[in-house]
C-alpha cells in the first residue's frame, strides 16, 4: 500500500531525530541491543499514535517522551525502582580542584577519558540521568525537558543540579584513582 505524502513527511521528520533517541536509549538501557529494541518500539508507537502529534510542535521532545515512558514501563518496571542519588552534599569540582592546587582547573577536564565521562553519566540514577541527557546533551530547554518528563520545571532544575554534582564527584574520584589529580595534595600529577 502506497504511503501518503503526510505519512512520508512524518516518517522523515521522525527519523531525523533517530540519533537523539538512540543515544538516549543507549544511556538509559546501557546496552546497544536493548537500546535498539526500545527505539524501535518507540517508533512503532509513534507511528500508531501519529494522529496525536500536533504539527509544528517539538517532535523530538514528543518522540523522546514516548521512548522514555516505554523505558520506564517495560525496561524498568515500576518507577519506584529508581534509586536516589547518594547525598554528595554541595560538591563543586572546581572548588575541590582549586583547594588542592590543581591549576588550571579546566586542564583536568581535558585529561578525562570520554569513556569515563559516559560511564559517570550512566552511573546516575535514571531519573537524574535523563535530565542530563535532555538538557546537557540534547540541548532541551528546562520547559521542554519538563514537558518531556512530565514534571514541573523546578524538578528539572533540582534533578539537574544534583546530577551535575554527582557527575563531578564521580569524575573527581576517577581523576584521583587514575592519578590525574592527587587528593589532598598540592600538585597535579602529569599524565603518563
Amino acid at each position: 500500500m502506497a504511503e501518503s505524502p503526510a505519512q512520508t513527511a512524518f516518517a522523515e521528520e521522525a527519523l531525523s531525530h533517530l540519533d537523539t533517541l538512540y543515544r538516549g536509549a543507549l544511556r538509559l538501557t546501557r546496552d546497544p541491543d536493548s537500546a535498539q529494541d526500545l527505539v524501535q518500539e518507540a517508533y512503532l508507537r509513534a507511528l500508531r499514535y501519529q494522529h496525536s502529534y500536533q504539527q509544528g510542535t517539538n517532535m523530538k521532545a514528543w518522540l523522546f517522551a514516548i521512548m522514555r515512558n516505554l523505558f520506564w514501563d517495560r525496561f524498568k518496571g515500576s518507577r519506584k525502582e529508581d534509586v536516589s542519588l547518594d547525598d554528595v552534599g554541595e560538591f563543586v569540582l572546581y572548588d575541590k580542584l582549586r583547594d588542592e592546587g590543581a591549576k588550571p582547573e579546566a586542564d583536568v577536564l581535558d585529561k578525562l577519558a570520554a569513556s569515563e565521562v559516559v560511564a559517570a553519566v550512566e552511573q546516575l540514577p535514571p531519573l537524574h540521568r535523563e535530565v542530563v541527557l535532555l538538557v546537557d546533551v540534547e540541548g532541551f530547554s528546562y520547559k521542554d525537558a519538563a514537558q518531556t518528563l512530565g514534571v514541573p520545571i523546578g524538578t528539572v532544575m533540582s534533578r539537574l543540579h544534583r546530577a551535575r554534582q554527582q557527575l563531578q564527584k564521580s569524575l573527581y574520584d576517577y581523576a584521583v584513582e587514575s592519578g590525574i589529580v592527587r587528593a589532598n595534595g598540592t600538585k597535579e600529577v602529569p599524565q603518563q
Binding site: 527519523l15 533517530l18 524501535q40 512503532l44 577536564l109 553519566v121 540541548g139 532544575m157 557527575l167
Partner: protein, 72 residues
C-alpha cells in the same frame, strides 16, 4: 549581585534560562569577579565535555534502514 547570588543562579545562566535582565546582571558580576568567572568557565567546560562525550554515539546505519522500512 553578590557571589552567593551568582552561585545560586549559575546553572540557569549556564543553560541560558534566566531573563534578559538576570542574564545581564550575572554577566556584569562575572566581568567584575574573577573567581566566579573562573568557576563559570569551569562549569561551562564540564557541560561541553558531557555533551561532546555523550554525542559520539550515533544510530547504526543498518538500524536506521530497518526503521525506515518499518515506517514506510
Amino acid at each position: 549581585m553578590n557571589c552567593s547570588d551568582c552561585s545560586e543562579k549559575l546553572d540557569s545562566y549556564l543553560d541560558r534560562e534566566l531573563s534578559n535582565t538576570e542574564m545581564l546582571e550575572l554577566q556584569l558580576h562575572l566581568e567584575g569577579c574573577p573567581p566566579c568567572a573562573d568557576n563559570y568557565e569551569f562549569q561551562a567546560s564540564m557541560k561541553r565535555l558531557v555533551k561532546v562525550c555523550c554525542e559520539q554515539d550515533k544510530a547504526p546505519a543498518a538500524f536506521r534502514e530497518k526503521l525506515r522500512q518499518i515506517l514506510s
